[in-house]
């Protein structure tokens, strides 16, 4: 019962965060500075999610090439940049991760 209440509250806060700007901001004229800042949302947020996944191992920094996730992530980024193909990015990234894990143990 408490778990259900917790999940319902999680859903409520998530929904409020998602819907409020759409409901309210459409009616306001946003200052140009904010509008320009919003252009950087995708890159800033996505990399804030991705970077820690690549360079942190159990909470500490692993910035060397014997870190399979970093290696695979960098390769995948190169593929994404050159090809703009999601499928190739996924395939190369996973293959690199498996290869590097097998080689580096």
């Amino acid at each position: 019962m408490l778990l259900w209440l917790t999940v319902l509250t999680m859903g409520a806060v998530t929904y409020v965060v998602r819907v409020t700007p759409i409901l309210l901001l459409g009616k306001l004229e946003l200052p140009p500075l904010i509008l320009r800042g919003l252009r950087y949302v995708p890159g800033a947020v996505l990399s804030a999610i991705v970077f820690p996944e690549l360079v942190l191992r159990e909470g500490s920094l692993a910035l060397s090439l014997d870190n399979p996730r970093l290696l695979a992530g960098v390769l995948a980024a190169l593929v994404a940049w050159r090809t703009r193909s999601m499928l190739l990015t996924l395939l190369v990234g996973m293959a690199a991760l498996w290869g590097a894990t097998a080689l580096l143990g």
Partner: protein, 246 residues
């Protein structure tokens, strides 16, 4: 109710809807294992199957569902679970704000619906759709694109969660399938980094997230995102200043 618009510049509702679905398809090979792993971990954390499935439709936010699963498994209090969810999902307010100007003419019902369907994956393809319009295509029915992308992701998420809950234990752990998620975000993000300010925003956002990873409740993510945005604005402003000697 057909309006007179120049032919060739407008796409119909169905056409937009299915382009939205199609834009989402390349992401599904990453979403499906992610949803299945969530289902498995939720059961392992002692969450009943019905609630694990319920969370996918009530919360519908993968990363916070993962975090909640870990926290519940570790016996965290409800308040901590909800606070972590809120902070982790604050990034959606940035997505929502950046889409708001494009959705302002829609009815309230549309806004309530699209708000529910706003995820990382749906946002990334939808904002790309709206930005393409800057070279002249009509935005008249572009919200149907959002709906198509959102529903495609929603359906896949529910089904893969269910697959994880019911078939789960058969997913081999050492395949590292959780890595498909960062790979998706790389595939979505990297092609958008086509000028110096966006690159600066991404590098600063990412580096700050690493530096702040130790903060409680995943606070680091939102602070890092804001730092990245400020970096983008700063580089943009410097680039637009008249060049001076030195």
């Amino acid at each position: 109710m057909r309006k007179s618009v120049e032919p060739g510049l407008v796409s119909g509702r169905g056409q937009e809807f299915f382009s939205g679905v199609r834009a989402e398809l390349p992401l599904l090979p990453a979403v499906i294992p992610f949803g299945m792993i969530y289902g498995v971990l939720a059961l392992e954390a002692g969450i009943p199957a019905s609630l694990a499935l319920g969370m996918s439709s009530i919360v519908f936010a993968g990363s916070s569902q993962f975090a909640a699963t870990q926290l519940i498994g570790a016996g965290a209090s409800a308040a901590v679970v909800v606070a972590t969810t809120l902070i982790l999902n604050l990034r959606h307010s940035l997505y929502s704000s950046s889409l708001a100007p494009f959705l302002s003419r829609l009815s309230a019902r549309w806004k309530w619906l699209l708000g529910y369907l706003l995820t990382d994956e749906a946002y990334a393809v939808t904002i790309a759709r709206y930005r393409r319009s800057e070279n002249g295509t009509s935005l008249h029915h572009a919200h149907w694109f959002f709906l198509g992308a959102g529903l495609c992701l929603w359906t896949t998420w529910q089904m893969s969660t269910a697959a994880g809950v019911f078939l789960g234990a058969q997913i081999p752990r050492d395949w590292s399938l959780d890595f498909t998620l960062p790979l998706t975000f790389i595939g979505l993000g990297v092609p958008t980094l086509d000028n110096r300010p966006t690159l600066a925003a991404a590098l600063v956002g990412g580096a700050a997230a690493v530096a702040l990873a130790g903060l409680p409740y995943r606070l680091g993510l939102m602070i890092a995102a804001l730092a990245g945005i400020i970096a983008g604005l700063w580089v943009d402003r410097r680039a637009n200043l008249p060049s001076e000697a030195g």
